[in-house]
């Protein structure tokens, strides 16, 4: 069971009938009878020209001869072979200058219409009679007859119609650009590499300016030639290229990442979106906590273009003063005989460290000097603490770095 709509839709979706050459020859004949090659515009010009010739002929004749003679001349024009007439009449016509742009092909058709088509001649006579009436009725104002004839070709002149173009400031490369066409006809944006974008009447264009150099906004004439009305420059932005190592540097006991930028301008830095006060092109960032960091530098270049670059960095574990988790008071290796978080020996930071015995919560050691590590002695008993047991250490920094927690804690096993 199927829905009738679906049934018909499916059956007719791609329905196609075989090509019939005869159909084309019929259409071709129809096209032939419509004066091939003559566009509507040309027809108007031709029509105007025909009227102009006839009106001129009439005015010329009427000022010199009786109306009977006029009629005789018209008949002569109708009867004369093509090559004997129109050229001369055309030269006489006051519209000669307006017809200059009409190509030879159009002239030929013009000849044909006058000399050969019965229908065309009938039309001419009719028009002639109408003009005759107009010119007689308005003898005080003879101008309109000429103006009406002459105005048609000029109406086709695109540059005469008022067009509105908003001015455009210079842009930076890869900027988003938007332009509205308030006119009733298409306008065009021509890029530096001569790519043409059409902005249809009453439409807007939104594009990304991906070429540097001069962009132009204007129109196309009938010969598809571009005429500019507004221009603007698209500037190549300078570049900030940030570089950073792919690991943290603990040389100063801190989780440090140095980021360098190639830029001549003072930079604005952000760390995970938070502004950093520094402005130089080489900055150190302390990344204390595990997680992702985005370091971004931006500035405004000489053309006023905003430029920026960023580096992404991932920290695998929390910073905990680089403390070891075991020590051996009796070891032969001097480096293992005491406990002091490594960072505190490198950092010039005031601190207090205490060691707690987790079994009773008693503080068994305390120091404020990185040169006095815990050697495993319980200050309350004066003896070495029990081995293979975890002890809790806690450090409080007096002046932690910006973004750093003031307290650290961990455990250490006495082996």
């Amino acid at each position: 069971m199927r829905n009738i709509e679906d049934l018909f839709k499916k059956s007719l979706k791609d329905h196609e009938l075989p090509y019939d050459k005869k159909a084309w020859s019929e259409l071709s004949k129809k096209l032939d009878t419509r004066n091939p090659g003559a566009s509507n515009g040309v027809k108007w010009i031709l029509g105007a020209a025909v009227i102009a010739v006839l009106v001129t002929t009439y005015l010329f004749v009427s000022s010199n001869e009786a109306s009977k003679e006029r009629q005789a001349e018209l008949t002569q024009i109708e009867d004369a072979p093509a090559d004997e007439i129109n050229n001369e009449d055309l030269i006489k016509a006051p519209l000669q200058s307006d017809l200059k742009s009409t190509d030879q092909k159009a002239d030929k058709e013009f000849d044909e219409e006058i000399c050969c088509g019965d229908e065309a001649i009938v039309e001419q006579n009719t028009i002639f009679e109408e003009r005759n009436v107009i010119s007689e009725a308005s003898t005080e104002l003879p101008q309109p007859v000429y103006r009406e004839v002459a105005i048609e070709p000029r109406a086709k002149d695109e540059t005469k119609s008022p067009l509105y173009f908003a001015k455009v400031k210079d842009y930076c490369l890869n900027s988003e650009f938007s332009y509205s066409n308030a006119n009733d006809k298409s306008i065009y944006l021509l890029s530096p590499s001569e790519n043409l974008e059409e902005i249809s009447a009453k439409e807007s264009l939104d594009i990304k300016l991906e070429e540097k150099g001069k962009y132009q906004i204007g129109t196309l004439n009938q010969d598809q030639e571009f005429k500019e009305f507004v221009t603007f420059m698209v500037h190549q932005s300078s570049v900030i290229q940030l570089t950073a190592k792919d690991y943290l540097d603990f040389e100063n006991g801190l989780p440090e990442l140095n980021v360098q930028a190639f830029s001549d301008h003072p930079l604005d830095w952000t760390l995970n979106g938070e502004k950093i006060a520094q402005k130089s092109n080489s900055e150190n960032f302390y990344l204390f906590d595990k997680g992702s960091y985005i370091i971004k530098a931006s500035t405004t270049d000489i053309n006023g273009c905003q430029i920026a670059d960023q580096v992404n960095f991932y920290v695998e574990k929390n910073y905990n003063l680089l403390a070891v988790n075991a020590f051996t008071p009796n070891s032969m290796d001097q480096r293992n005989t005491s406990f002091m978080p490594y960072a505190l020996t490198k950092r010039d930071a005031a601190f207090k460290m205490i060691i707690i015995d987790p079994s009773n919560g008693a503080v068994i050691f305390e120091t404020m000097n990185a040169d006095q590590p815990w050697t495993g002695i319980n200050k309350n008993t004066g003896e070495l603490v029990e081995d293979k047991k975890s002890y809790v250490w806690k450090v409080v920094l007096q002046n932690p770095e910006k973004g750093e927690s003031p307290e650290y804690m961990g455990t250490v096993i006495r082996l």
């Binding site: 069971m1 199927r2 829905n3 009738i4 709509e5 049934l7 018909f8 839709k9 499916k10 059956s11 007719l12 979706k13 329905h15 196609e16 009938l17 075989p18 090509y19 019939d20 159909a23 084309w24 019929e26 259409l27 071709s28 129809k30 096209l31 419509r34 091939p36 090659g37 509507n40 059409e198 249809s200």
Partner: protein, 190 residues
Amino acid sequence: MENIEKLKEIVEGCLQNKRRSQEALFQMFYGKMLAVCMRYISDQDTAQEVLQEGFIKIFDKLEVFDFKGSFEGWVRRIVVNTAIDSIRKAKRAPILKDNDNDFKVEASNEIEENEKIELIELRAEKAVEAIQKLSPAYRTVFNLFVIEDYSHKEIAEMLGISEGTSKSNLSKAKKNLKQILTEEFSNLRE
């Protein structure tokens, strides 16, 4: 992409009034567009004339096509509009009529409300034949709504009828088509 380039080349030629390009464009869309015309106009000669008229309009209007939408869709719209104009002009078949006496199937007969039909497939020729049996009023709305995907609102605007008339014509067209197909099949069985 290659086809679009080829089409652009043909259109370019048509804009320069080149006969060969015009023929190429005509040949490219003839089959599909004649099929469109045949759905609106039952007489084949008239359909051919409408198609030719449509193509003359296409050649005239080509310069305004901006290649932003589907070219075939654009061609089709012109052909459909030409077909509708032709029906409108035909004195004996007013498109605005709600009840068409010229209908070949009695619409007043009790037809099941059920639109489902015991058919899995319908040959295109049979479908066209059935559509051609509808009155121009029903046929046009059915074509526009079902095949061309116009909304009732758009159809109402195109044909100068109310949305209600468009809906009612569609519903009657479907009922009649079902009856036509049912009769067709019962004849086959006999």
